[in-house]
């Protein structure tokens, strides 16, 4: 089956330093891929290439087998690649609906915003994610960390995302909130959205991801199925940069 996203031989250098050095990686529909590595391992750079923050120096990106050119975040969004940064990029002084449509508000005649239509759409999207916020009209600053994460996710998938990149999705959350985000990730995966979770901490994403890719010093150490490895083995990959010593992993 053709992967949803395929990165081939991606190279990105900053002033002679190879931030990403010849990395190839693929993501299937509905797959939850964890991307692990220390700070500076190159995972953020790789993801920013995919999200269109900056273009790769060389290498190819294929979406469902078709080579694509991603030169800007707008290009990425048009292709259905949405990114949720750790800061979530929400406007706390506005309500959930306003945040869901941030920068993409629906307008009616005379250029006035169509609040009713936006609220209706927001309700649908939240329903699709089986999310229940206490009130759509309460300001984001009154929401909990997990609820904010939910608003950010709803915004990302509202405009037909096929690939969702999440940067440290549970780092700032308590155990209960983490479980909720996990349920949300599982639900999105069921709906066929490919998800990339970025983290420097294996514990944050080991239970969420079905496959783990590890990077070190700009290179891909390898990708393993979470079912086949232990957390210690993955930890060894992150630290030593070597694949676990056993046949077929």
């Amino acid at each position: 089956m053709t992967p949803l996203v395929e990165l081939r031989n991606i190279v990105k250098t900053f002033g002679g330093v190879h931030a990403v050095d010849d990395v190839s990686l693929s993501l299937a529909e509905g797959e939850v891929l964890g991307l692990l590595g220390h700070n500076g391992a190159g995972k953020s750079t790789l993801i920013k290439v995919l999200a269109g923050v900056f273009p790769a120096d060389s290498g190819t990106i294929l979406i469902q087998g078709q080579p694509v050119s991603i030169r800007s975040t707008r290009d990425a969004k048009t292709l259905g690649i949405e990114t949720i940064y750790q800061t979530l990029a929400l406007s706390e002084n506005l309500d959930s609906v306003a945040n869901l449509f941030l920068g993409r508000e629906m307008t009616g005649p005379l250029g006035f915003m169509n609040e009713e239509a936006m609220e209706e759409q927001a309700r649908k999207t939240l329903g699709r994610l089986k999310l229940h916020l206490p009130s759509l009209s309460s300001l984001v600053q009154s929401l909990s960390g997990g609820q904010r994460q939910a608003v950010a996710i709803a915004r990302a998938i509202h405009f037909n995302a096929r690939v969702l990149i999440m940067d440290e999705p549970t780092a700032a959350l308590g155990p209960e909130e983490t479980l909720k985000v996990a349920a949300l990730v599982a639900e999105l995966s069921r709906q066929g959205i490919g998800i990339i979770l970025i983290s420097h901490d294996i514990h944050d994403i080991f239970d969420l991801a079905s496959r783990l890719a590890v990077m070190k010093n700009g290179r891909l150490v390898g990708a393993v199925s979470t079912a086949d490895v232990t957390q210690d083995e993955v930890l060894a990959m992150i630290i030593a940069g070597k694949m676990p010593e056993r046949p077929n992993s």
């Binding site: 990029a89 929400l90 406007s91 706390e92 002084n93 306003a98 941030l102 909990s144 960390g145």
Partner: protein, 341 residues
């Protein structure tokens, strides 16, 4: 979030409500308290005539305060509003035929043309401010301080210490005429406030103003042209200040230097006393209206009671200080209640 809606709302938490609404409640209580106080302290305060008086007195300030509300909502500031108002009133007079005794070397053109020139002049001043803030990157506080001086310079150059007395007919009507017994000035102020409220609440532009003040990074990430929004509010502020200056000189019956000096403090005070956050993103025209009324009632009421006129200045300063404390305090309480969630 994945559980069903909360079982049943807990008994209504008044303390929480007051904390979250302090920004809106405090100004309203202040207004009511001042109103009650002056009504009891003076026989002449509580009359319809005086109420209309108060409205007329805050009308000019309110037009300036509308522009300033836009600016402060984005988290910026405009210190040039009063100087720009002054300069534009004088620019308009400069292009109007003056009586012989005015002794100003000016360039008379037809009235409507003079109005267009004046509007173009305030647009130009606004664009300069916008350019400095968004393209060069000068903090708005300093940029508008410079613009304050530039506008004062324009005023000084054009009248050279003289006073102008004639203004275009249409401005004369709007600034000092009446419409069915009501001052045109009040009508213009109310319409300006109304339009501003509609723009802020129901248009994308208004939403982006709140977004720019709330989380600039999020706004940029969402594809909002933050620089354009900030530049726009600077131009809007200059245009409204200029418009207020044009109406103002007609209202006063003369145009001269330093005539609008008190308007800077009054306009900023009205916005901040009303509860619009100095940090941007929170507040609005509703807050500004309350702030304007607080200031109007205070200024007017102090004239109705027997108080040392020098003490009045001090009292105004103290009220402003209290409003600033509430403003910052409200922000802090919101921030802490948001993080302890």
């Amino acid at each position: 979030m994945t559980e069903a809606a909360k079982p049943s709302p807990k008994s209504f938490d008044w303390a929480q409500f007051v904390r979250s609404q302090l920004r809106n409640i405090a100004p309203l209580i202040t207004l009511i308290a001042l109103f009650v106080f002056f009504s009891l302290a003076s026989k002449s305060f509580l009359t319809l005539d005086n109420f209309v008086n108060i409205l007329a007195q805050v009308s000019l300030t309110s037009i300036i305060a509308v522009g300033l509300t836009f600016v402060i909502l984005t988290g910026e500031i405009d210190l040039s509003v009063a100087a720009v108002a002054n300069a534009i009133g004088i620019v308009m007079a400069f292009f109007t035929l003056q009586p012989d005794y005015a002794n100003i070397q000016n360039v008379p053109v037809p009235g409507l043309v003079a109005v267009v020139f004046a509007l173009a002049a305030c647009g130009a001043l606004g664009l300069i401010t916008a350019f400095g803030v968004t393209r060069i990157g000068i903090p708005s506080f300093i940029m508008t301080l410079a613009m304050m001086q530039i506008a004062a310079g324009v005023s000084a150059m054009l009248v050279r210490g003289q006073i102008a007395y004639s203004f275009p007919m249409i401005i004369q009507t709007l600034g000092s005429g009446k419409f069915m017994g009501l001052r045109w000035l009040i009508v213009v102020a109310v319409v300006t406030l109304l339009i501003a409220h509609l723009v802020l609440t129901y248009t994308r532009f208004g939403r982006y103003i709140y977004m720019t003040g709330g989380n600039r990074d999020a706004a940029e990430y969402s594809g909002v042209n933050v620089k354009f929004i900030i530049g726009s509010v600077m131009v809007i502020s200059a245009m409204l200040s200029g418009f207020s200056g044009m109406l103002g000189v007609a209202y006063f019956g003369s145009a001269q230097q330093n005539q609008f000096d008190t308007f800077l403090l009054d306009a900023i005070a009205a916005v901040v006393v009303g509860g619009t956050s100095l940090f941007g993103g929170r507040g609005g025209i509703g807050n500004t209206i309350i702030g304007l009324l607080v200031l109007g009632v205070l200024n007017n009421g102090l004239d109705h009671v027997n108080i040392d006129s020098f003490l009045k200045i001090l009292i105004r300063g103290l009220i402003l200080l209290i409003a600033l404390i509430v403003n910052v305090y409200a922000q802090k309480m919101r921030d802490s209640s948001a993080t302890t969630e």
